[in-house]
Symmetry: C2
Subunit: 214 residues, 2 copies
């Protein structure tokens, strides 16, 4: 008799690792489009190219799949904010934060939509992460920004709303991709739109915050 997910063996098989990877990849495809409630295990199974019971052999429930996916993606997702450095100078830090966030919107749109779906639907599965680790990280970086403002390096402004505005403007290009493409039309909806967006946003934030130019 098989015991799911190698509760005995401690070490994970190559097969286990590969299959779990394969499942989470498919789950990301599906969850990021339809949200938790709107997705079905069958859909994920089909995308993953394996049978439903086989999926459930590696993840006991649909919720476990979602949980594993969120956990895996959350850390990576906050990487750019974590890299936000108090020691650096405001201009380059803000510039590179915007760039990094835009790159993530371009390269990992599914991850962005996964969170967007989750938060939009009331964040029933990640409330703790938001109120705990996320809030702590933002609090820390907000302090950095506040210090810059006090030192006259940037204009005085609410650091939380500054962070929100960078989040929203950059993630917009992943989450509302269809709308962006529709509005820009066929001609302008190539990959170049990310460069255009970067230029616009850097200008907006650097000038808007009256970042002191060295």
């Amino acid at each position: 008799m098989a015991i799911p997910r190698a509760a005995k063996t401690q070490r994970r098989t190559r097969i286990q690792e590969a299959k779990e990877e394969q499942i989470l990849e498919a789950a990301l495809d599906v969850f990021s489009v339809s949200g938790f409630r709107g997705s079905t295990i069958d859909q994920i199974a089909e995308v993953a190219g394996m049978s439903k019971p086989n999926l459930l052999y590696y993840f006991r429930t649909k919720e476990a799949m979602h949980r594993a996916l969120i956990d895996r993606v959350l850390f990576t997702w906050l990487e750019p904010l974590r890299a936000f450095d108090a020691a650096g100078n405001p201009e380059s830090e803000i510039r590179s934060y915007i760039r990094r966030k835009l790159e993530m919107a371009r390269d990992f749109p599914r991850e962005s939509r996964l969170f967007a779906n989750e938060v939009l639907q009331g964040a029933p599965h990640i409330e703790d992460e938001l109120k705990g680790p996320l809030k702590a990280l933002v609090d820390e970086k907000a302090d950095v920004i506040r210090t810059w403002a006090k030192e006259g390096k940037i204009v005085k402004c609410d650091p939380y709303h500054l962070i929100f505005s960078i989040w929203s403007t950059t993630q917009h290009y992943a989450d509302f991709d269809v709308q962006v493409r529709a509005v820009l039309g066929q001609d302008n909806s190539g990959e170049g739109r990310f460069e255009d967006a970067a230029r616009f946003l850097e200008q907006l934030f650097i000038d808007g915050l009256r970042v002191a130019q060295p």
Copy 2:
């Protein structure tokens, strides 16, 4: 024998009007949280306080409910952008556009989330509206902005990305409300956050666009 939705009578009964209103109100509650696929007719029926077959007497399918809801809300939703006036001066136009959008995020968060859910999931039901009326409206307003830039009233910038950034920053407070509250903490997540956001965003956009002060 009853014929659904008065295909014969042409004129809608008071009851019809009232019930359809009641249903769409409930549907907005449910769809805005769970998206189309994640919502069930039973949920809507319960919120509306009527039986499922009764709902289906007024709207033949779940899709018809969603369609009617989108159609009704779309017009209102674009009102602020429509009000954006070429004749006005850039500063007050941009200021009031931001204010209006923020007010909508505050007063009609369900409507915002309804669209967010829809677009996030690939806009399967409103693709035509995005590529048609929405694009046309944005094209028109983009021209206004471009003219302002040419006249030196604001800095030269991509008008489309400017509009996107106003959309995303303002709607963020409706769509990602849970996250905003979580990060701001209990103390700062009262209604005052909209005032704070307005102050920040006006400052950001007015300074960031180097709007000529008269």
